[in-house]
Each structure stands twice: as structure tokens, then as C-alpha cells.
């Protein structure tokens, strides 16, 4: 019996070696393990074997059956694998063709810069505000310590609608509007469009500013420096430094111009910073007590700082744009760069 079973296993194994598809395999399976298969026949014949030899013979046949089953299973999985490989290959695609996604549009660099700045200042406790672009002379100038016929009006070429209404030449009137309606501590930022009668490569008759105002007790130029340093580091790069230079604005005293270290040459001097290593980015200062008093804030108790910054200028520095007018050309080839 043992010899017989061993031979069957050997034969089956040889058959399987020859076998190359699942149909063949099925035939082999039927031949050995089918209803009338060779192994099945041996099992049936066990009845004819004497009872005392039956357990040993039975085990021998069963072992052989298992061996054959394993051989068949192995072969089946090997064949299936090979077959599906052929099928999958038929499904070959060119993965280097471009994807079907729709084209991504773009946000204007001015929007991107404003969003970045707002996010920095909101983290520093500043609340976002807005104000009218067509503004009264009072809010735009008089309340900011710039009376009518004051020489400081020459600092900005203002567009007038009539004697008392102007296109705001800066975002500063929003300061006044907020000081009038809220109590300290005040911390606000407000971006928006502003207008000046100027038009060349570095000036546009319409541009954007962002204004910041902080009114509280114990505010110093040190706080201004700290806040602007955070701003510069977040907008330009971590290693950006800032520098104050004395200046004059009627609504701040002391007033400063603020420079940032050139992020392009890292302060060594290049075309963008005109070889100085520094780029002027904004004007700021301690709020003039006269402005506080004008808005009914006690200048003995409170002081504060304010700053105003041109968005286009920041965008030009950040993105290396050399002509402000390109920002308003709205050429798709330009716009699409700012995804």
C-alpha cells in the first residue's frame, strides 16, 4: 500500500510539473481526488483490507491524499498568480500622463500678503477692523493732528471729492474711528485700499496699506519694536532684523521709519536694498497725545503706538517684483504664479 501511495504522489507531482493552466490542473485534481479518482478508489478499497491492517493502511492513504492536496493547492495558487499577472498587464496605463485635476487658480499677491499679516497680528492680540475708503477730511486729517492748510498735508497728494470729503490717503482714519467708539486696551489692525495722486514704478494712485494701533497703559517704543520684529520675522524670514530711524508723522511722536534687514542678501547689500543691507518698509511711532485727546482718550493714563505699512511694498520685497504697476496689470501669466 505504501509503495502504491508513494507512487501516486510521485506521479501526481510529475503531472503537476507539466501542468500549465487551471483547466489542466482541474483534470489532475479529478484524476486523483475526484469521485472516481485514484486516491478515492484506494480509500474505497480499504473496506477489503483486513480489519487489523486497516488503520495503518487508512493513515497511509490519507497522508497521500493530503500531500496531493497540498501539491494541488500550491500549483493552483502559482497558476492563479501567473494568470492574474497577465490580466493586470493588459490593464497597463501610462502613469506619466498628466492627471485629470482641474487647474488651480490663484490669489492675488496683495491678498496673500494681507492674509499673512492679519494672521501674525491676530496672534499678537490685534483685532481686524475696516473703515470707509471715501472719508471725511476730519477723520483723514484733522483728527490726526493735521489741520487744514497744514504743511504736513503736502506729505501726501490727496484726491478730493469736495472740501470735506476725500479718498483716504492712508488707513489711519480707522484708528480714530475705533478710538472714538472703544475703550483701551485697544489693539486693532485694518488693511485696505488707499489713494494718492502719484503714478510711477514705485507709486500707484491706488494702493493698499495696513494700519496697526495699540492703546493701553505702559506702552513704549520697546513694545512697538517687539511687535514689529515679530511681524518682520513672520513675513520675511526668521533671521530678519529691524531698525528704527527718526522721522515725522503728525499723529505720532516720537515717529520712526522702520527698516528690515534685506532678506535677499541677508544684509550684505544688493540691488534690492540699494547696497545698504536695509529696506524701508513702514512708518510708526508713539501715538501723539493730541490725537488721543482729540478722540477723548485720557493721554495722562494711556499711551500707545501706531504703524502703517504699504502692502504692495511688502509684496514687492517678498516676491521680488520690481515694478508696482505689474500688480495692477492683472496679467494671467503673472497672477497664476501665486497659487
Amino acid at each position: 500500500m505504501k509503495e502504491k501511495t508513494e507512487m501516486l504522489v510521485r506521479e501526481c507531482s510529475e503531472c503537476l510539473n507539466q501542468c500549465s493552466d487551471l483547466n489542466d490542473l482541474n483534470r489532475i485534481k479529478v484524476k486523483y481526488l475526484g469521485k472516481n479518482g485514484l486516491i478515492t478508489a484506494l480509500l474505497k478499497n480499504l473496506r477489503d483490507i483486513p480489519a487489523e491492517q486497516r488503520p495503518v493502511a487508512g493513515k497511509t492513504v490519507n497522508d497521500a491524499r493530503e500531500k496531493i492536496q497540498i501539491l494541488l493547492d500550491e500549483k493552483e495558487s502559482a497558476l492563479k498568480k501567473a494568470e492574474s499577472g497577465i490580466l493586470l498587464e493588459k490593464e497597463w496605463i501610462d502613469v506619466t500622463l498628466p492627471g485629470k485635476n482641474t487647474t488651480r487658480g490663484s490669489l492675488h499677491p496683495i491678498t496673500k500678503v494681507i492674509d499673512d499679516i492679519i494672521s501674525v497680528f491676530s496672534g499678537l492680540g490685534f483685532e481686524y477692523k475696516e473703515g470707509p475708503e471715501i472719508e471725511t477730511d476730519y477723520y483723514c486729517f484733522q483728527a490726526l493732528n493735521i489741520p487744514k492748510d497744514h504743511p504736513a498735508r503736502d506729505m501726501q497728494d490727496t484726491f478730493y471729492i469736495n472740501d470735506n470729503i476725500v479718498l483716504r490717503s492712508h488707513t489711519s482714519p480707522v484708528q480714530v474711528r475705533n478710538m472714538e467708539i472703544s475703550k483701551p486696551p485697544i489693539r486693532i489692525v485694518n488693511p485696505g485700499r488707499v489713494y494718492r495722486a502719484d503714478d510711477d514704478a514705485t507709486h500707484s494712485p491706488m494702493f493698499h496699506q495696513i494700519e496697526g494701533l495699540c492703546i493701553d497703559e505702559h506702552i513704549s517704543l520697546g513694545d512697538l519694536k517687539g511687535v514689529l520684529e515679530e511681524f518682520a520675522k513672520n513675513i520675511f524670514s526668521k533671521d530678519t532684523k529691524i531698525r528704527f530711524r527718526p522721522s515725522y508723522f503728525p499723529f505720532t511722536e516720537p515717529s520712526v521709519e522702520v527698516d528690515v534687514s534685506c532678506s535677499i542678501c541677508k544684509g550684505k547689500g544688493c540691488k534690492v536694498c540699494k547696497g545698504t543691507g536695509w529696506i524701508e518698509i513702514l512708518g510708526a511711532g508713539i501715538v501723539n497725545p493730541a490725537v488721543l485727546e482729540q478722540s477723548k482718550i485720557d493721554s495722562k493714563k494711556y499711551n500707545g503706538f501706531a504703524f502703517g505699512c504699504g502692502i504692495e511694498r511688502i509684496a514687492m520685497i517678498k516676491y521680488g517684483i520690481d515694478d508696482m504697476r505689474i500688480l495692477f496689470d492683472n496679467d494671467l501669466r503673472f497672477l497664476r504664479q501665486y497659487k
Binding site: G105, L107, H108, P132, E133, S220, K225, P246, E253
Partner: protein, 794 residues
């Protein structure tokens, strides 16, 4: 302001280099816009003496000159000029010399005779007769006698000067005088300022000029002095050169002195011809309406009561502080003059100058503000210069009218307050030292002291002003950056209405659209181009009084115009396909002319062009409203600039919140656009005020749904939205949703008709629906569609 360095050096010893000087000035608040080296226009041109002149052997019109240029060998130069003689001193451009027009001189040969340079004429050196005597002559410039040979010509013609272009801020009108700017320079260099020369001899004759001020508000202070036996002549070279460096043409000694003082002290002065002041009597009064004067520039000026005049007993002789009258001006025959040194109210000068459209160096100084302490010094300085240059005899006495007393200007401060503003710890002693270097008087102790600025400093009024003076010289770099050490905590809020704009911008960018930014002002023609003549907003725009050009002279009431211009310019640049959007304001006045501030409304305009269709744009607009959870209904509409049959109005309930459609061909032509453009103009304010983010929670129903499709044949102009409304009504509560999935016309469909197919989903919240219930609803829908639209089942 242009500041010749030599002038500054007359009052301060400057031992540092020009770069260090500029840095120091910038650090204490004086921007250096430019450093101009006047000598750089002329290089390598020197004085030379003509030693010998001989005829050129081969050319009748040429001469060969031997020139002494201060070196061992003579220089040979060939010239065609004929105005030269042996012994003349002339400028010669050596090999490699550069002339003001950029010409570079090279040595060479003229008709085979070597010429190692070129003798220059006045014009070639950029000079006019007024700049240098003889420069106007045709030929070689014959220089003054007594010069050494071989010296740089810049030294001879006054261009060996460095000029600083200094930005003077509006709070420091005093520094519009070089002498007072010198005080700042002295303070930052740790030097002392040298005094002005103010001494002069006085003759026995009394000054008989009388002055009367009729309006002390417009003219708070007026001083008049008289000089007789005037000799009108050319000014000293140093005065002429400095005036030229400041951009002013020297005229004669008297006029030059007034200009010199304008630059040196910042005090405008005027010199009248005494003989043309009737009765030696000066009156300062407002002009009468329509009163006229011919000013120095030969123009007749029509005046108003706002203008201040200087008059004699019978007539106006000057527009106060702005320009003198022609009649009483200095002329070559003038023998006696009256110097005016006055203060006029800056706001009035500013207004008058603008009203008359007349600006002068004098008016611009007065506009910035002139201290009432300057007049006396200026007059003395003028007398000193007259005396020093022997230009005339100064009469005894000065007529003074008005006052220069503006009260005590002391400021009481303490170091604690100052340091609190500055955020540094400046020692009292250091602060005191700085203030004293600026000639401030300091009295008291650290905790309470008073500071009295020099009378010229009218900008110092508060503790903040004192703090600034200190930190300017103490150094801004000493301020340590801190972050609200002693201040309150505040919460940085970004209100929803701002963030919703951001969300929409991002959404539209994700959809493939590109954000644009266009000007808020536009051409008044825009509504004609858009054919919106009868629109609610047409011609109701706000006009700018002083626009930079007609193209940007009115505030827009719609953004469609700017959008179409942008589309057009993009197509012209070869960007044939694209989508654009802009969120900005439109400006809607309630009344015109504007009495109060207009409504500023946020608007959103989207455009798609180059291979898109109406539904591409509508799909984006629909999902935009979906994103902000605003319900919309689209109805056929009429918009003047859109295709009459491809245009919808968008409603939320009864409220019109937007328009969408195809721009009509006619309008496209107005913008030179070929091809189709789709535009949506949406009320952004409405979105900002009505958007929702958190909706009510609806629990998903667990009972199964049943889907049915239905296709109708209807007239082709039946709106799908009307059928959908009908299906919703007839379908009743159990209809969960309905949508269009196919529209077809053509084969098998009668012409003028279309097939429109809907897919419906039924579901109930409390049970599984039976077939009967659904069939019943479908029947009802079918019947109703037959009644309302004569619809047939396909």
C-alpha cells in the same frame, strides 16, 4: 533741500567723511536723499596759459597753441577758435577728459599736427554768461587773470562742491535754514556752531520807512530796514556759487542777498526799490476783490480778499510772502532799497499760493512755517552782507510792527515718563547733555525738570517731543524689543465677515479662477460702454475733483467694466482662456453732489472666457452659494450688457442678490473682445451678512429610499426650474430630492419641443414607502405637468 557742504562747513567743523556724516544725519532724523558731487560732470579739465600761437601749416582756419598747464612740458593743442591771444588763461580738456554733455576728449591729430587736448568754450563746460563772465562768448572761454595754471577747472567755475539733498520733515521748518541745520549737525558730531556774522556799520541817515499792519493774524510780525547809495553789481563769487548749487540763478548783489538769507536762515526776504514806495509808507492788508497786481514774472494776478498784499500809500507792491510786484522791483538804476523781513501766517500763504497758482521759494518756506524769532536775525544778516560787500549804506533804525512774543514755551517733564515712552533707561545726565547740545535750557532734577527749547524750535510742546529729541541722539538702536510686558492681554479677533471673504477667495481659486485687483476709480464713460444708461447706478458716480487723468476720475458703481477691461487686456496679451474674480467695493452716493459719505458696498465679480459656457460659470456660482449656505433661485433676467436670452437674475427669496450671463456681442465689441465672456456680478455684502456655517443637525433617516426617473416632452422654452418646482409641489412630503439628468432635443423629438429627464428620490422619515404610495405621487406629478406645461411622458 539742497545743502552745499561748504556752506555747512562755514558753521560747523566737519572732520568726518561724507558717508559718516550722512549716516549720522540720517540717524538723527535727516534723510539724505542724494549726495551730489558737482565736480563729477567735468573731469580732467585744467587751467592753462597760452604761451604761443602759430598758424597750422596745412589749414588756414586752424591754429597751433602751446599751453602751460603747470607741468614741465608745454601742451600742444590745435584749435579753430579765433578769440585767443598769447597770455590768455583758458580751460583745457586733457586726454581722457569728461565734459558735462558726456563727451570724452581724446588726444589725436588735426591735419597731421598732433593735438593733445581741447580748449573749451563756456557752453562746452555747461556754463552760461550768468554763471561765469565770458562763458556766453562764441569761442574759447577766457578765464579771469591771476589764476594758477594746471588747477582743476571746477575750482575756478564754482563746481568743486558737494551738495547734500536733505529731506527736512514738516515738523522742522527751522532746518530749512542751513545755519539751523548746522546746529543739528554740530549736535551729532559733538561740535559747537560758529556764530553768524551780524555786525555792520550804520550811516547817520534815519530809516524813514513806516509800516502799518492791517491784519495781524495774517501778518504777525513785520520789519523794514533801509539801505541807501546802493551799488547794483555782481555778488561775491562764493555767494553766486552757493546759490547756483542750491539751484537758484544769481541776479545781482541785492536780490542775491535776499536769496542767500532764504537758504541760510530759512527766512524769506524781499527788497523793494525805495523810490517806488509812495511816501515811504508800507501797509500790509488784505486785497480787495478783483484787485490786480503785475508780479515779477510779468503776469497780471487777479486777487481776492483771501490774499494778503504789501502796499504803499496808493498801490500794491507785492503779494505778501509769495512774489514781489514788478513795479517796485530792484533794477539797475535802483539807489535806495527797503528790506522786508516778515512773518506771514502759513495757512494763508498756502491757500493764496494755491488759489493764485503761484509758487516761489519764499511761499514754500512760509507754508512750512517761519519762526517769528527769525526776522530780526535775517535783517541784521542782510545788513551785514550789504556792509561786507560794500553794496550800500545802512540807514539807522528798523521799523518793527507786530510782535515776536509767543509766550514761554517751557515743558515740564520727568525722566520716568520719558523712559516709559521710549522703553529705555536713559540717565538724567545723558538726557541733559543731549538737550543742552541742542541749546535747550534744562532746569530741575530727574523727577521734575523743565525744558525750554530755543525760540526757533516751535515744534517742541509736549513730553513726547522732548522724548524724541533725547532718543534721536541717544540712539534708537538702544531700544530693546519687548512684547507687551506691562500691558493688558487682548484677544485677536478675525470677524466672520472678513474670513468669509477669504473663504470665498480660496474657494474660487480652488475652482481654477484667478484673483485680480483693479482700480476703484475708472473712466466716466464706463456706463456708456456697458450700455447701462438707464440703470439705477448709471451716471450716479462720485467724481474726483483732482484726478490724475480722465481714465481714473470717477468712483465705480459696478466692477463689470474693470473686469471686461482686464479680460480684454489679457486676450490682447495672448492669454486666450481664463477665469478671473475680484472682491472690492463699489461706491453708491445717496445724493450728488456728495453731502455725506456714500454707501460702500462689497461686490464680487467673476468672469470666464475662452471656451467656457454659461453652465461652467453657473456651476461655480451655485457651489459658491452652496458653500455659504445661501438658498438661491435663478430667474430669466434682463441686464443691459448681457445677452437677452442668456442672462439670469439670482434671488434669495424676494431679494435680488446677483446677475449672471453672457456678455452681449455688442458690449464685447466695445472692449475689443472676440469670443464669449461670461460674467457673474454678486452682492458680496449680502453674502457677508447672511452666510451660515453651522446648520441645524438633521439625523440621517434609516428607512430606505426609492428612486424613480421621469422624462417629459415640453415646449423648448419651458424653464427646468418651473418643472422642478412643480415636481416638488406635486411630489409632496415624501419627495426627498429631484434633479435634472438629461435634456435632449433633436431626432425623435418634435421640433420646438425638448425632452427633459428628472431623477427623483422618495423617502419617508417614519416608514418604508410602499410602491403604491410612490406610484400615486408619480401619477400626480405627471398629471400636474400635463395641466401646467402640456407635458407628455416620453
Amino acid at each position: 533741500m539742497l545743502v552745499p557742504l561748504s556752506w555747512l562747513k562755514e558753521y560747523v567743523d566737519i572732520e568726518v567723511g561724507i558717508n559718516e556724516l550722512c549716516d549720522k544725519m540720517v540717524n538723527c532724523g535727516f534723510e539724505i536723499e542724494k549726495v551730489i558731487d558737482l565736480s563729477q560732470n567735468i573731469r580732467n579739465v585744467v587751467t592753462a596759459k597760452i604761451m604761443q600761437i602759430e598758424k597750422h601749416p596745412d589749414a588756414d582756419r586752424l591754429q597751433i597753441c602751446q599751453l602751460d598747464i603747470g607741468s614741465d612740458d608745454l601742451l600742444q593743442v590745435v584749435t579753430a577758435a579765433t578769440n585767443i591771444r598769447v597770455g590768455d588763461m583758458v580751460p583745457v580738456a586733457l586726454d581722457g577728459a569728461k565734459l558735462p554733455d558726456g563727451t570724452v576728449i581724446k588726444k589725436g591729430k588735426l591735419r597731421n599736427v598732433k593735438s593733445d587736448g581741447m580748449m573749451c568754450g563756456g557752453e562746452e563746460l555747461g556754463l552760461t554768461e550768468n554763471d561765469y563772465k565770458g562763458a556766453g562768448v562764441d569761442g574759447i572761454l577766457i578765464l579771469e587773470t591771476g589764476l594758477k595754471t594746471g588747477i582743476d577747472i571746477n575750482k575756478v567755475i564754482g563746481t568743486d562742491e558737494t551738495v547734500l539733498d536733505v529731506g527736512i520733515t514738516a515738523n522742522r521748518p527751522d532746518c530749512n535754514g542751513i545755519y539751523f541745520l548746522a546746529h543739528e549737525v554740530a549736535a551729532c558730531l559733538g561740535k559747537k556752531v560758529k556764530p553768524l556774522k551780524l555786525d555792520y556799520k550804520v550811516s547817520d541817515e534815519e530809516n524813514d520807512v513806516k509800516v502799518e499792519i492791517k491784519d495781524l493774524k495774517l501778518c504777525p510780525h513785520y520789519m523794514a530796514g533801509k539801505v541807501k547809495n546802493i551799488q547794483i553789481k555782481e555778488s561775491l563769487k562764493v555767494i553766486r556759487n552757493r546759490l547756483r548749487a542750491c539751484g537758484v540763478r544769481p541776479i545781482n548783489n541785492i536780490v542775491d542777498i535776499t536769496n542767500y538769507i532764504l537758504f541760510e536762515l530759512g527766512q524769506p526776504m524781499h527788497a523793494f526799490d525805495y523810490n517806488n514806495i509812495k511816501n515811504a509808507s508800507i501797509k500790509v492788508r488784505r486785497a480787495e476783490k478783483n484787485e490786480k497786481i503785475i508780479t515779477l514774472d510779468d503776469k497780471e494776478r487777479n486777487l481776492s480778499e483771501n490774499n494778503l498784499l504789501i502796499c504803499d500809500d496808493v498801490k500794491p507792491i507785492a503779494v505778501a510772502g509769495i512774489m514781489g510786484g514788478k513795479y517796485s522791483s530792484i533794477n539797475p538804476g535802483t539807489d535806495t532799497i527797503v528790506f522786508e523781513s516778515a512773518k506771514f501766517a502759513r495757512d494763508n500763504i498756502r491757500r493764496s499760493s494755491r488759489e493764485l497758482n503761484l509758487k516761489s521759494d519764499s511761499s514754500s518756506r512760509y507754508e512750512k512755517g517761519v519762526s517769528s524769532y527769525l526776522q530780526e536775525t535775517a535783517l541784521k544778516r542782510a545788513f551785514a552782507l550789504i556792509d561786507q560787500t560794500s553794496s550800500g549804506e545802512i540807514c539807522k533804525g528798523v521799523f518793527e510792527c507786530g510782535t515776536n512774543d509767543e509766550g514761554n514755551k517751557s515743558v515740564s517733564v520727568n525722566m520716568e515718563k520719558i523712559n516709559e515712552i521710549l522703553g529705555v533707561d536713559v540717565e538724567f545726565s545723558a538726557a541733559k547733555k543731549i538737550l543742552k547740545s541742542l541749546n535747550f535750557e534744562v532746569k530741575g532734577r530727574k523727577n521734575a525738570f523743565t525744558v525750554t527749547p530755543p525760540s526757533i524750535r516751535e515744534d517742541i510742546n509736549t513730553v513726547n517731543d522732548i522724548a524724541e529729541e533725547i532718543i534721536r541722539f541717544y540712539g534708537y538702536d538702544k531700544i530693546n524689543a519687548i512684547l507687551f510686558k506691562d500691558a493688558h492681554q487682548t484677544c485677536g479677533k478675525i470677524p466672520d465677515n472678513f474670513s468669509v471673504s477669504g473663504k470665498i477667495k480660496n474657494f474660487l481659486a480652488d475652482k481654477g479662477l484667478n484673483e485680480i485687483v483693479t482700480y476703484s476709480f475708472t473712466s466716466p464713460e464706463y456706463f456708456k460702454k456697458l450700455n447701462i444708461l438707464n440703470d439705477e447706478y448709471a451716471d450716479k458716480h462720485i467724481k474726483i475733483l483732482n484726478p490724475l487723468g480722465e481714465q481714473i476720475s470717477v468712483m465705480r458703481t459696478t466692477m463689470v467694466h474693470s473686469m471686461l477691461e482686464t479680460v480684454s487686456s489679457n486676450i490682447a496679451k495672448g492669454n486666450k482662456k481664463g477665469g478671473l474674480f475680484e472682491i472690492a467695493k463699489i461706491y453708491l452716493p445717496e445724493t450728488l453732489p456728495l453731502e455725506k459719505l456714500p454707501k460702500e458696498k462689497d461686490s464680487l465679480v467673476i468672469s470666464m472666457f475662452g471656451g467656457f459656457d454659461f453652465y461652467d460659470l453657473k456651476g461655480i456660482v451655485e457651489s459658491l452659494y452652496d458653500k455659504v449656505c445661501i438658498d438661491t433661485v435663478y430667474k430669466e433676467g434682463k441686464v443691459n450688457y448681457m445677452h437677452p436670452y442668456r442672462c439670469a437674475e439670482i434671488f434669495n427669496g424676494e431679494r435680488l442678490i446677483g446677475k449672471i450671463g453672457e456678455i452681449s456681442t455688442e458690449i464685447c465689441e466695445n472692449y475689443s473682445i472676440k469670443g464669449k465672456v461670461y460674467i457673474a456680478e454678486l452682492d458680496m455684502d449680502f453674502i457677508r451678512n447672511n452666510y451660515k456655517t453651522y446648520l441645524e443637525f438633521l439625523k440621517p433617516v434609516k428607512f430606505p429610499s426609492a428612486d424613480r426617473d421621469i422624462a417629459f416632452i415640453v415646449d423648448e422654452k419651458v424653464n427646468a426650474s418651473n418643472i422642478i418646482n412643480l415636481i416638488k409641489r406635486a411630489g409632496g412630503k415624501i419627495l426627498e430630492s429631484v434633479s435634472v439628468f438629461d435634456v435632449y432635443s433633436g431626432k425623435q423629438i418634435e421640433s420646438g419641443k425638448k425632452s427633459i429627464a428628472f431623477s427623483l428620490t422618495f423617502r419617508a422619515g417614519d416608514r418604508t414607502l410602499s410602491d403604491e404610495e410612490i406610484n400615486h405621487a408619480m401619477d400626480k406629478i405627471l398629471k400636474q405637468a400635463e395641466i401646467e406645461f402640456s407635458a407628455k411622458l416620453r
